[in-house]
Symmetry: C2
Subunit: 218 residues, 2 copies
C-alpha cells in the first residue's frame, strides 16, 4: 500500500468520522484533525468498533500528512484554509469533500459560489504547491458513518492533476463498495456538487435517506 498518512480535517463530523473509521480499518494511517483535539479524543474513544487513529489540531494534522481531506462545512472552509496553508507539506494533495448547500428555512439550495463550485473556491485559496482533487461529495454522510455497511455506489473524482485524481481514486478504493469514477478536470465539481443537491431533493421528495448514484454503461 502506497498511501501515506491521511489527515481528515473535520474528522469528528459525520462524514469525516465515517471516513476516518473506514480508512483506519483498511490499514491507513489516519490523523483526525479537529479544532478541539480534547473533544475529538472523547469522540474517537466512543467509536465502535474501535480503530486506531492519531488526533491533532487541524494545523498540525495538515502538516503531518501527504493527503489532507477537507471535511468541514463550506461556511468554515475559508478559516480552515487560512489556518492550514502555512502548515501543509509542499507535495501534499488536498481532497475536497465539500458541497455548498444551505438548508435555511428547511429549504435546500445551492449557495452561490463566485468561482463556480466549492472545489474552485478552495483551489483559489490553497497554496499553489498543493494539488487538489474532489471525492466523497455525493455519498450521504450518514451512510459513510454506518461503517459496517458497504456503500454500493459510485463516487465521482475530479481534480487539477493526474496525481491528485489518482490519490483521490486510491482513497475511494480503500472503502468497501465504492467505485471511483474519474470525470476529469476540477471544474467538473460544478456537476458533482449538483448531483448532491439532486440526491437530497430525491430523498426529500420520496421520504428516503440513502439516494446515491451508480453509472450504468461504464
Amino acid at each position: 500500500m502506497t498511501l501515506g498518512p491521511v489527515a481528515i480535517l473535520g474528522g469528528t463530523g459525520q462524514q469525516g468520522s465515517g471516513l476516518a473509521r473506514r480508512l483506519a480499518a483498511a490499514g491507513v494511517h489516519v490523523i483526525v484533525g479537529s479544532r478541539d483535539p480534547q473533544r475529538a479524543r472523547a469522540t474517537v474513544d466512543g467509536w465502535r468498533p474501535a480503530v486506531r487513529v492519531d488526533i491533532a489540531d487541524n494545523g498540525a494534522a495538515a502538516g503531518s500528512a501527504d493527503t489532507v481531506l477537507l471535511a468541514v462545512p463550506y461556511t468554515t472552509v475559508d478559516a480552515l484554509l487560512e489556518e492550514i496553508a502555512p502548515r501543509m507539506r509542499p507535495d501534499a494533495i488536498a481532497i475536497d469533500l465539500i458541497v455548498p448547500l444551505t438548508f435555511a428555512g428547511g429549504k435546500m439550495a445551492m449557495l452561490e459560489v463566485v468561482e463556480g463550485s466549492a472545489a474552485e473556491h478552495i483551489r483559489a485559496k490553497l497554496p499553489a504547491s498543493a494539488a487538489l482533487a474532489c471525492a466523497f461529495k455525493t455519498i450521504p454522510a450518514h451512510l459513510v458513518d454506518r461503517v459496517d455497511e458497504p456503500l454500493d455506489c459510485d463516487e465521482f473524482i475530479c481534480g487539477d492533476s493526474d496525481a491528485a485524481r489518482g490519490r483521490a481514486a486510491e482513497l475511494v478504493a480503500h472503502i468497501a463498495g465504492l467505485r471511483a469514477v474519474d470525470v476529469g478536470p476540477l471544474a467538473r465539481a460544478r456537476s458533482i456538487e449538483q448531483l448532491t443537491a439532486l440526491a437530497i431533493a430525491i430523498n426529500r421528495r420520496h421520504k428516503r435517506h440513502d439516494a446515491r448514484f451508480r453509472i450504468v454503461g461504464l
Copy 2:
C-alpha cells in the same frame, strides 16, 4: 391508456426519432413535428421496424397534441417556441428534453443560460396556460435511437406542476427499461442538465458512449 396524442417536435433527430419509435411501438399516437414534413416522411419511411406515426410541420403538430415534446437543440428552441405558442392547446403540457451544451472546438461545456437552466428559459417563453416538465435529458440520444435495446437506467423528472410531472412520468413509463425519478420543481432542471454534462464527460474520459444514471437507495 390515458395518454393522448403526443407531438415530438424535432422528431427526426436522433433522440426525437428514438422516442417517436419507442412510443409509437407502445401504442401511443405520435405526431412527428418537423420544419420539413416532406423530408420527415422520407426519414420515417426508413425506420426499421416500421411504426405508424403522423407527420406535420411543428406548428400543426403542436396544435394537435395534449403533450408536446421539445426535442430540438437549445439554439433553435426560441424560434420553435415563437412558432408554436399561438398554436398550442390551452391545456397542453410541454415536455422539455433540452440540455444547453456546446461542443465548440471539440470541448464540451454548458452554455450560460440567464434563467439558470434550459427548462427555466423555456418556461419564460411558453404560454402561461401550458404546463411544463422535463424528461429524457440524461439518457444518451443514440441509445434512445437503438429502439431494440432496453435502456436500463433512471430518468429524472421535474416540472412546474403535479400534472406536468405526472405526464412526464407517464411518458417515461411507456419506454422499456426506464424508471422515472421525480425530483420536484422545475428549477431542479439545473441539476439534471449538469448530470448530462457529467455523463458526457465520463464518456469522453473513459472512451465510452453509454454512460447514464441509476439511483441507488430508492
